[in-house]
Subunit: 314 residues, 2 copies
């Protein structure tokens, strides 16, 4: 750790209860190729999504401390449940910047809503045949995101039970003046881990969850994927929304988080962009190495090799 200030590359620690956080790493690699990455999957204690705050906080803090001990300059909590329930606990336990997935997801939803608002304004502008699109755009961007009928636009958040119960997305979206409906989808992680990414049963489960959610939030415009497993289901989700004749803008919190990390590093570069090296990643798992390598590749989109086992107790 002592030579940290002499290193040209930042070391980014990425942590998840399992494999899902690899979708965040997948988005980070092309955005910040100069970085060294250390990934920890706390697979011996997964899933976090169905457990209580105290248990999740204990697991998440010990995982975060491990990555700091391995030399991380910056920590990405690439797990919605750990972010939703334990971001503050982690931030208080570490002397380095800690970025979670909830705020970036909410921010991306906010930007997307403004673009939609902009489109509405622009079409109104066009109807009036007034060539003021630039002005309309800036007005659109500065408008509050309150809908014409006075109610805020709805963002539909799909997440695990624990993330939903924490209402972390409701709070994060409210800060952007966006109203959220959060829907717990406990079967989606097991379906992804079964490998049923494009499967009629998964489509049927999605249809049930989305129908229930859209009954509660019929005016939803944005669908926020509030679990890092869900990006693998994005094609199935889009297919199901088409079947339901209810298109929504899909926001992937994994990609949004990678952009937030890039923005953070861009404004606070610890010797960044002095090299153009191929990114390197070291992987640790608290349970079976073989299983991590086998399942992880699907999430990372490239082979996961050289995984090392670490025992964090429990």
């Amino acid at each position: 750790m002592k030579e940290r200030n002499n290193r040209p590359q930042p070391t980014i620690g990425v942590f998840d209860s399992g494999f899902g956080g690899l979708t965040v790493l997948r988005a980070l690699l092309p955005l910040i190729p100069e970085a060294r990455y250390i990934y920890l999957g706390d697979t011996a204690r997964l899933p976090y999504g169905s457990k209580s705050h105290d248990t999740i906080a204990r697991y998440a803090v010990s995982s975060a401390k491990f990555l700091h001990e391995q030399g991380a300059d910056l920590l990405v909590v690439a797990c919605n449940t750990a972010t939703a329930l334990a971001l503050e606990d982690i931030q208080q336990s570490l002397p380095i910047p800690v970025i979670g997935v909830v705020q970036p997801g909410a921010h991306a939803a906010s930007i997307s809503t403004r673009s939609q608002k902009k489109s509405v304004v622009l079409s109104e502008v066009r109807e009036r045949a007034v060539s003021e699109s630039d002005g309309a755009e800036s007005k659109g961007l500065r408008l509050s995101s309150v809908q014409p009928d006075g109610s805020p636009p709805k963002v539909l958040v799909l997440a695990t039970q624990a993330t939903v119960q924490s209402h972390a997305y409701t709070r994060a979206l409210a800060a952007h003046n966006l109203n959220a409906y959060e829907k717990a989808c406990p079967l989606l992680v097991p379906l992804v881990e079964e490998g049923w990414i494009n499967h009629p049963v998964t489509d049927e489960v999605l249809k049930i969850y989305l129908t229930e959610a859209l009954t509660e939030a019929p005016n939803a415009q944005i669908l926020l994927l509030g679990c890092t497993h869900y990006p693998l289901l994005e094609p199935a989700i889009r297919r199901t929304l088409a079947t339901l004749n209810h298109p929504l803008t899909v926001i992937d919190s994994a990609k949004a988080t990678a952009q937030a990390v890039a923005a953070h590093i861009g404004t606070n570069p610890p010797g960044l962009k002095t090299q153009n090296s191929k990114p390197t990643a070291a992987f640790y798992a608290t349970d079976s190495i073989e299983k991590f390598e086998r399942l992880g590749s699907g999430f990372l989109g490239q082979p996961v090799t050289g995984v090392r086992h670490v025992d964090l107790g429990g």
Copy 2:
């Protein structure tokens, strides 16, 4: 613990990674009402079913030791995964009898196969119009359970990934001269915990799993439920087998285990049957008490109250 020898009732510790073991306790209560029960659900570290041997053994041994410290005279490992992967580890770490769920399930399958064999022999006897059914019955019971074509009868075992990979059921059934086909069903536990006990999606998932399994084991006669969550799906499983036009004798390892415990206590009674008191049960969980009480009742078939939290590390 010191007054153990003065107590008329045995104290039976029952342990599972979560709620499934409550189906074993449910079967135990009417069979051994004189006992005092202590149940531990290691819910902070569930599920065991997808984890490695070393991790499962570490969790299971610490859970078992806790129950011994609480005064258990006898321990029931009411979890197929913990039994399959860690029964010996637990037995070596405790000075009390330890009964798992795999051997009782295999024993029940063996008895059931013999009964089926007996039925075949009896019908052959009837066809010959010879009144020797008693002799035939005893011959049938003493016959090896090898089928007419020379191959052993097939037992189809449904279980978690970890239980299947351990091949504990294959070994236990081979000791009864029974050939097993083991099928991992990773989605069944999440479906039960979602509460989709009688649900078209669950029926569809069961149809897929059972069709795959019966393609590999078309001559199966017995279906062994090798996970303590699965008894809740027994009606759905029977319904699906009927749809597939493939009736099988369904053996529930939870009930079989309760009978094995009763048999063990019957032959080694620590002051048993001196009272006819209502059974008492104390419950411990390593994660949320509220969730344990809420979900546990469905497995136990009666309210689960007074659950206490215990931290076993991790």
